[in-house]
Amino acid sequence: MAEIADDGGGKKGKKKGGKKNSTKVDMTPMVDLGFLLITFFMLTTTMSKPKTMELNMPDKTIEDQKIDVKASQTMTLFLGKDDQVYWFSGITPAECKEKDLLQKTDYSSEGIRKIILEETKKIGYDQEKKLYKIIIVIKACETAKYKNMVDILDEMHITGSKRYAIVGLEEIEKELIKKYEDG
């Protein structure tokens, strides 16, 4: 392909006798192999770079950092087992016996993301502070996986929700979720 043996120049020698073979080596396969390996190493080196997600938790030592959470501006999410999310608008009341409080959804873009966006629009925009008024409270149940936690933090990122908090469950909420999960 790349090297065509040039015997035009060797005519005089040929007449004298003794066929002279070309000393040139066909390098095409070697170059092919070289580039194949380069491609392999290039692809393997650049693809495997992991990324990070920053997580800031509130400082426990500062007491007055706590802000009052208005029930009307809040949305509570429970991360349950088998990739399910239970949610409702507002904060958990002290007595929650009713069974229809929670709604169930999943982590897909049509699921929780749509709901968060709808709730955000419903609660509205604060012109003074220049942010959406919504506060999202995330509660990871004992049955939830770490993947769910990352997924929901990701959703916060995607939907642009700036005000969210990860908090632990209270006893009453644990019971409530258990009731839902058992059906």
């Binding site: 992991p50 920053e54 959406y132 996986k145 770490y146």
Partner: protein, 203 residues
């Protein structure tokens, strides 16, 4: 007029230069590729849309495996030595030079402090075959807290990264986070894989 003879050239292409470049690049990529070291704990991280790179140095990595084992690792070798010396002193265990060296070569580990001397005596196939149970981290014995504390003493610039497996329980991760918060560490990185950003979410 004599006929002009058109000399016919062979279509010859000198590939030497191209070949040189190709192999130079090849050598470069071979040398720069870091092969995955034999990991004591395989972690399959979840993916996220976040695209912040991981800090290159001064990193404390807390790994959480599929079965909720907690592993601890520091990137710099001198720091590892300093940490081990301090922790051994505090917990009253003695280690010889060989055990110290073995510890320095370990990227991360997951055994309790009591089991550490025996673990550091292992070598070769014994070491790779040993299943490390993870560092105890509960309200009674929280050894993770001790390791993190000493690591931060040894290198105050340290950043903490949590590398959790997809399948590990959120409960365990919360416990690790709570341990960090008890030391007033409120900023940390969660190591995740890459994921394509979805189309604008309409905000």
């Amino acid at each position: 007029m004599p006929k002009v003879k058109v000399k016919r050239h062979g279509v010859s292409l000198d590939m030497t230069a191209m070949c040189d470049v190709a192999f130079l690049l090849l050598t470069f990529f071979i040398l720069t590729t870091k092969f995955k070291p034999n990991e004591a704990l395989p972690v399959d991280t979840p993916t996220s849309v976040s695209d912040l790179p991981i800090p290159d140095s001064d990193l404390i990595t807390i790994s959480i495996g599929k079965d909720n084992q907690i592993f601890f690792g520091v990137d710099a070798q001198p720091t590892r030595e300093a940490i081990l010396t301090k922790v051994a002193q505090d917990k009253g265990i003695t280690l010889n030079a060989k055990q110290m060296k073995n510890f320095k070569l370990m990227d991360n580990f997951g055994v309790s402090i009591a089991a550490l001397p025996a673990f550091l005596n292992l070598e070769g196939s014994d070491l790779s075959g040993f299943k490390q149970p993870g560092i105890p981290c509960d309200s009674l014995v929280n050894e993770l807290s001790a390791w993190v504390l000493q690591a931060r003493y040894a290198n105050p610039k340290s950043r903490i990264a949590i590398k959790g497996d997809k399948g590990s329980d959120a409960k365990v991760v919360s416990k690790v986070i709570a341990t960090l918060q008890d030391q007033n560490i409120n900023r940390f990185n969660l190591i995740t894989g890459m994921e394509a950003k979805p189309m604008a979410a309409g905000m």
